[in-house]
Symmetry: C2
Subunit: 480 residues, 2 copies
Amino acid sequence: MHPLQELMNPSSIAVFGASNNPLKMGTIQLANILECGYRGEVYPIHRSEETVMGIPAYRSILEVGKPVDMAQLVLPTDAVPGILEECGRAGVKHAIVISGGFKEAQGTEGERREKDLKEIAARYGMRFLGPNCVGIMNSLCSLNTTTIAEPPMGGGIALASQSGAYTAMINPYLRSQGVKMCQTISVGNEADIDLVDCLEYFRLQEEVRAVGMYVETVRRPREFVAAARKTAAEKPVVAVYVGGTEAGARSSLSHTGAVAGPDELYNGLFRQAGIIRAADMDEMIDMLWILSLQPLCPGPRMAVITNSGGPGSSLAYHLEKAGLSVPLFSSSLREKLDGITGPLTYTGNPIDLTFETNVFIFKDLLEMVFTSGEVDGAFIYGIFGAPDFMVNLNKRFPELRAMEKDWGEVYHRFLAELAEVPRRSRKPLAVMSFFGAQSDSIRALVENGVPVYPSAARCARAMRALLRYLDIRRRMRGEA
Amino acid sequence: MHPLQELMNPSSIAVFGASNNPLKMGTIQLANILECGYRGEVYPIHRSEETVMGIPAYRSILEVGKPVDMAQLVLPTDAVPGILEECGRAGVKHAIVISGGFKEAQGTEGERREKDLKEIAARYGMRFLGPNCVGIMNSLCSLNTTTIAEPPMGGGIALASQSGAYTAMINPYLRSQGVKMCQTISVGNEADIDLVDCLEYFRLQEEVRAVGMYVETVRRPREFVAAARKTAAEKPVVAVYVGGTEAGARSSLSHTGAVAGPDELYNGLFRQAGIIRAADMDEMIDMLWILSLQPLCPGPRMAVITNSGGPGSSLAYHLEKAGLSVPLFSSSLREKLDGITGPLTYTGNPIDLTFETNVFIFKDLLEMVFTSGEVDGAFIYGIFGAPDFMVNLNKRFPELRAMEKDWGEVYHRFLAELAEVPRRSRKPLAVMSFFGAQSDSIRALVENGVPVYPSAARCARAMRALLRYLDIRRRMRGEA
């Protein structure tokens, strides 16, 4: 079994460093384990407390008397080796070492301490994450051992990261965008389990549809490339690398003891590994969102359907800048489209509906351009038929309020049906909207797997990643 | 008086095209005028209805019998010239023509109709916006004549745009980010009032601290450059241009009848005009946010204060990529910083606090780096001391819930004080956070004028704009 399999899905967890002091990191993390829905056994280990947060505590791991699948350690640096040793003696085979003060502390002592951890683990056949990490999330067992209060969400995205913040604290950002992620692994200093292991593990997880990584250094380049290529043959892998500048490198060294290389080196490494490089986390999330949900993009030809000229022009511009195309539709297709829109609408591509209160038309147009064979993917701007738009009208037309619920249901059903079109057509759709993922105007789209971005540039970058992945997959499968 | 002065601040408005049919664009716009707080007189003009949305309607503008400062027309294209003529005869000096079907319709008839409008307006000394626009917002008189239900917010940002969506529909996006905008003008086809007029008008408005424009074409290049240079000498001007690609140009032509030029031409034009070019609306908003709120950046040297290594390394990387620097602090400064952080913290820049529950330390560190003279601006990542973080702890520690309100107040006051530091030090601060503007963790920062971005790349781009504007201002003032 893959070493991360049990670590990510433990039946029981021992927690070191949680207490009844709510300001301690270990306490916060235990609160999150207890309150995010995890159903396994949880054993706080504490030298003096009888109970921690209301559940029975044990003086030592050796006193638990039941099998423990995984131990999480949030302890003063000096205490870590001794406790890890005790865990080994108790038969614990998986650990997460949250504590810092190891290799990243940059003294010979930190290095020595980290070496000690590795020796202890090896002696007991134990695999561990960290040190200097923030834990894991796994929606499959509702486990959240990190410092962020929000539970993992479920969805097709998995993240492995050399930054803890980027696996845990990023959660509120993902939620507000409507982006769903199922597993995150904070690898810290990678004394034992590293990004290579994460790539292999994520490849084997069926629910993982797209893999994201935050990288400050690659410690085993050869194995990294091999694992990434194998993973990228099955599912897209995107990575952020920051370390290619002077201060970036200095920061990485103090962060995870990572020795960073120049940007170009990593560009080459990622290219060889079949990894799409993203400039920053937000861009990576944008890419992973569409990659985890939409059909692959069979080619570069894009349709743009909009009810406003500015977003239409912006999409056309940014798509072409990104190397995609927005072809002029054939006259026979335009004639058919005119049949839906009426003769006053420009249907050459972008299709600009201008002000249009009949939202259903978007679905008819999308189906028509997808079945035409003239495009490989599509964008829509301007879906807003729901209460968001009616706030002031409802105040002036009480009769509208009476219809609001019915209309809301019709509208939501429409969005769900619209979301089916790309899946049925096997061509990807992205939506541009200034309404947030929680707004009534687009919520049902997001819930049904259509990514929604608030700018043309972000739409274009995301779609380009989808197109690039098809190439990468062919290459990794030896088809090209 | 500037022609836009009265148009943007009318004491009375006549509305053509609103009715008791809630699906009509004119009706939606009248609902927004009536429900967003406007206190002037509103006269719906309708051929047959006695009242429109519960307020008395008039059969013709000539029947109102009271002075009308501004008329907004949302009528079938053919009806527009006649009604504009009637407005002229009634002494109305300002109009907004929402209706389309003019130059953007690309037939000779559309061109002729637009020429008719200009002739009518000239004959009566009338100035007008549009045709083919969506109206205006002005927080100073709580006026919103557009189709978006949300009222204008107030704040230091003004937008003029050749896309209506980008002045109106973008509102929910601005709100969710916490970005405040005071005035927006949708210029449409610019048959009369154009971007040049908007630049001149915004220059004169004290509350406008930063000007944004969405541009598909510049119709009067010489006047545009002159007006922009004059404005940029007083306040920053940022613009988005999309039109430099084949499909972008095609889309612009059908949108506002704009004849687009190549990208490079516009780069040169903007450079000459003292305008900062943004790639897309989201980037422009990011820039305008910091430009409208923070002190100008006196130089490129940046401090980074973080409680997490990943965001610290990312900020360092993206700042250097953006041409800013993250200098290693002097040993004397580091000694002083160590006095605050304790010896285990890396204080070389980025300052990495790792896990730190004492948020107050951020303010002490910021003041120290600002007074050191070693940096010109700063970034903070990792402020989250508020309930966001305590959700699960509160469930386990009932005593915390009792303290929650007090702590919330202390925390909010702390954020407000932190927000004062950049103003007092005359050096800019931007915050990176994954919590949204409405979250308790950062709301008080946003409310007190500190922009908060969810990625390092966005932080860096925004700060670079602030630095660039100082150069531009010097140049426009003839100081450089």
